[in-house]
């Protein structure tokens, strides 16, 4: 699937250091498929002990339904390596997450699932939160090819993304397919290795 430019409202979630246990709690990791995780996204913040939606929580508010951008605090996605986190976020409908920083494993997992981590400087980050607080329907535009985010005020901000990930997202390139093309190089490397383990011995 190719990543296309889009415009969307933002879902503000200002907490910092949001860990993947909050994004999708461990008890939902007993699944052997990728399906059905969106319903439990942010489960313990979203539902009460009886499983009823908490009306105050942002994901339960009517005006954010259909929004594709999550605006979050610093160091989003820290903790566990569970890829169930980006699976849950994309199943809910998100295609980009905006923060000042992301945890490494979460960022890598997101890029492999069509979820774009957009890193912005602190002043832009604060401006976006202020904009969405003032006008909950404020929108941003995301252009991956040009690596720009357009703020509700119309300001264009550049964001970093490595060239390979950008290429894969824009062209819908399958990373494993690309790796398999290097079969000969892998075999040549293996021929020179010494001292391999053997778990089958």
């Amino acid at each position: 699937m190719k990543f296309e430019n889009f415009e969307s409202r933002m879902v503000p979630l200002p907490a910092t250091n949001v860990d993947t246990d909050q994004i999708i709690p461990a008890r939902f990791l007993k699944t052997i498929t990728k399906d059905g995780l969106g319903a439990n996204l942010f489960c313990d913040w979203r539902y009460d002990a009886q499983g009823k939606p908490k009306p105050d929580f942002i994901l339960n508010q009517p005006h954010v339904q259909g929004a594709r951008v999550l605006l979050v605090g610093d160091n989003f996605g820290c903790g566990s390596s569970r890829e169930h986190a980006p699976w849950a976020l994309t199943q809910f409908g998100f295609r980009a997450v905006i923060s000042t920083s992301f945890a490494d494993i979460f960022r890598g997992n997101s890029l492999k699932n069509g979820l774009l981590p957009v890193i912005v400087p602190p002043d832009v980050h604060a401006e976006l939160f202020a904009a969405v607080e003032k006008e909950p329907n404020a929108t941003v535009k995301i252009d991956l090819a040009r690596q720009t985010l357009t703020t509700p005020a119309g300001r264009q901000i550049g964001f970093p993304v490595d060239g390979f990930s950008k290429h894969c997202l824009l062209e819908g390139v399958d990373e494993l397919g690309y790796m398999l093309q290097h079969e000969a190089k892998i075999a040549a490397f293996e021929a020179k290795r010494t001292g391999s383990i053997d778990t089958l011995a």
């Binding site: 910092t16 246990d21 461990a26 699944t31 890829e83 060239g163 390979f164 494993l176 398999l180 383990i197």
Partner: protein
Amino acid sequence: MPATIIEKLWDSHVVYEQPGAPALIYIDLHLIHEVTSAQAFQGLRERGLKVRCPQMTLATVDHSIPSTDRSLPIVDELGRKQIEQLDKNCREFGIRLYGIHSDRQGIVHVIGPELGLTQPGMTVVCGDSHTATHGAFGALAFGIGTSQVEYVLATQCLLQMKSKTYQVRVNGTLKKGVLAKDIILALIAKIGTGGGTGCVFEYTGPAVRALSMEERMTVCNMSIEGGARAGLVAPDDTTFQYLYGRPHAPKAAEWDAAVARWKQLPTDDGARYDHSVTIEGDKLEPMITFGTNPGMGIPISAPVPAPSQIADPDARAALEKALKYMGLEGGKPLVGHKVDVVFIGSCTNSRISDLRTAASVLKGRKVNPKVRVLVVPGSQEVKRQAAAEGLPEIFRAAGADYREPGCSMCLAMNGDMVEPGQYSVSTSNRNFEGRQGPGARTFLASPLTAAASAITGVVTDVRSML
């Protein structure tokens, strides 16, 4: 040019590299468990691919398995299905599985080292963020997502960008009552949970050199809690002595050749790191966390920080949110706070030395009757050794519940849970909201602090009992 061990490990595993693109790096050991692998095997099936190097792959069950009697059927249907699926996948793809009834079953990060599979100079990956544990051997070891589990199964390689190097130097000598766990909690409290993002830690200095292999594993294990995907300790005689004679360690002439290779790994004199931090080991106290991420930690004699003292509005809001969840007031010490549950276990602190440490406090004492105490060994091998040393009798006589090996209450996937609102002192690695069960409140600490708090029923400075 002088190089760090991190750069040496990287350079020796690059299969193919183009400027500006991620490098294709080779993986020497791939560990698998039931929670993050099923979708990867399904991906292989859909593409008609085989596992390229089953001999470099090992599977076990740890996250979802009950810590109760293993001869009984697993009650939880989803957990049971997940375990059965791993068994099916390993049979179909020809992978060695130390399953639920194997005498080598255990937490993936406990069994790799004890079998001698984890060796210096290797790259080690697993679909689990605590894979950095294996860095204790001077290996480049890091957690990966399920897509990458599939890539490694198919190609034995990963596409990676080179990380930055970060020296964590620990000077001096640790005082009595201060353990490896306190070093790593102090580091994370100092640099924060995102402090090491984009980096690999190398732990250096006399206090690190003085640690046993099991203690080094405890330190490396929590590197991810400081944001670093990997953390390692350069190999030395302590490493070689630990490895010698283990089932998968090199034998005879191969051993000598391997040791000669491994001795080339340590960081060269004059090599430079991108970042550095120093911790004075002499000044460390037992550490404990008060909040909802592992960076929210304090020396046990210090008060919990008060939001009013924090100038930065985001940091203040985060602290207020954490204290509200934890039901704590800023400005007061944690010592003396009531405890409902004590958990001694997890890939951080479930090795034989951790059990010995806990037993040294529990021996001849009784746990407070209001406290539920779980002791969960990291593997069948740890369990056998503990039995040989009479540790289960010590735990049971004290009133602790001694259980079967696995991740257990660290992440509460297997039914071992802290009840909503309860306080737990846990030797595990994460105090995130709900980590040990919905509404659970976790204080992370060392096995000494956990055992001492089990006796008194309140958060306790173990130094008063030594």
